[in-house]
């Protein structure tokens, strides 16, 4: 029950502000790849660094998104 609620809430959140938020995804992927590639020379290390950067940025954005969304209830 709790899992279903979280999934539905997630789908609802992703549907909010629709298109604009999705533009961030390719941008974050590209930034992570270029950032990783300028710090390593071997492909495996580039990919590892890029994935770590990608997850870090997405988590950070997710936290900010959640904070702003919750703050909206206290307007």
């Amino acid at each position: 029950m709790f899992d279903t609620t979280i999934i539905l809430a997630g789908i609802y959140l992703l549907g909010l502000s629709t298109a604009q938020i999705w533009y961030a995804v390719p941008l974050v992927v590209v930034i992570s790849l270029v950032w990783g590639a300028t710090r390593h020379e071997r492909l495996t290390e580039i990919i590892t660094h890029s994935v770590k950067s990608l997850l870090w940025v997405l988590t950070f954005m997710g936290i900010i998104f959640a904070l702003i969304y919750v703050a909206g209830y206290f307007q």
């Binding site: 590209v30 300028t38 020379e41």
Partner: protein, 213 residues
């Protein structure tokens, strides 16, 4: 020829042949990835080319060819172009358009025409001329949007309508996103130029040790 070697914790040290760093940096600016291709670092060259050109062209498409332009008009100092031009050749048509339109001439590659700001019908001022709203009686000058050209006509400093505000009205958040993508592509290419000139910023075991102390 410049060769640099990075010792590793495990395995073989990494050696990078930068060839002529100045030439590589110039090529990296001209076409993203070309500097690395010249140095024989073909995998990274392909990665940089796809990432940066893809981002730049996607942004340019989102902004319908209007987000990349050079201008120094009062109220429209286009600082974003300094970032965009770091992508090199692909952003240079904007400089050519700036020179072309500087003395009031029409731009190359006209995308559309607009009614001027003094057109008698206020609802159509600065609006695109389409087959539906074309005024057969009107034979005066029109404003022409050009590919990578600055907005035609005066740019208002306040809230008065002008072509720039019409671009935002026509393309809405696509215009902002297009601007963001092209600026980010240019800034990323600065990292790529640096990588081509001095090699990757690999952290060596010695640097790790020093950082821990």
């Amino acid at each position: 020829m410049t060769e640099i070697t990075f010792p590793q914790d495990e395995g073989e040290p990494i050696t990078v042949d930068l060839k002529h760093p100045g030439v590589a940096a110039f090529l990296a600016w001209l076409i993203p990835g070309a500097g690395h291709f010249y140095q024989g670092r073909k995998g990274k060259a392909l990665l940089f080319f796809i990432c940066i050109m893809g981002t730049f062209l996607f942004g340019l498409g989102l902004g319908r060819g209007r987000v990349v332009y050079a201008s120094a008009k009062p109220g429209d100092y286009r600082w974003q172009y300094i970032c965009q031009v770091q992508c090199g050749l692909v952003a240079l048509p904007a400089a050519a358009q700036w020179l072309q339109t500087a003395d009031g001439k029409d731009p190359f590659f006209v995308l559309c025409e607009r009614y001027p700001g003094n057109y008698y019908d206020e609802d159509l001022q600065f609006k695109k001329i389409t087959p539906e709203n074309r005024d057969p009686q009107y034979s005066g000058p029109t404003l022409k949007d050009g590919f990578m050209a600055p907005p035609p006509g005066p740019v208002s400093l306040g809230n008065d309508p002008d072509v720039m505000s019409m671009w935002y009205f026509d393309y809405r958040h696509d215009y902002d996103m297009g601007l963001l993508f092209t600026v980010v592509a240019g800034l990323l290419n600065v990292l790529v130029i640096y990588d081509a000139a001095v090699g990757p910023a690999i952290i060596t075991p010695l640097q790790k040790q020093l950082a821990q102390q």
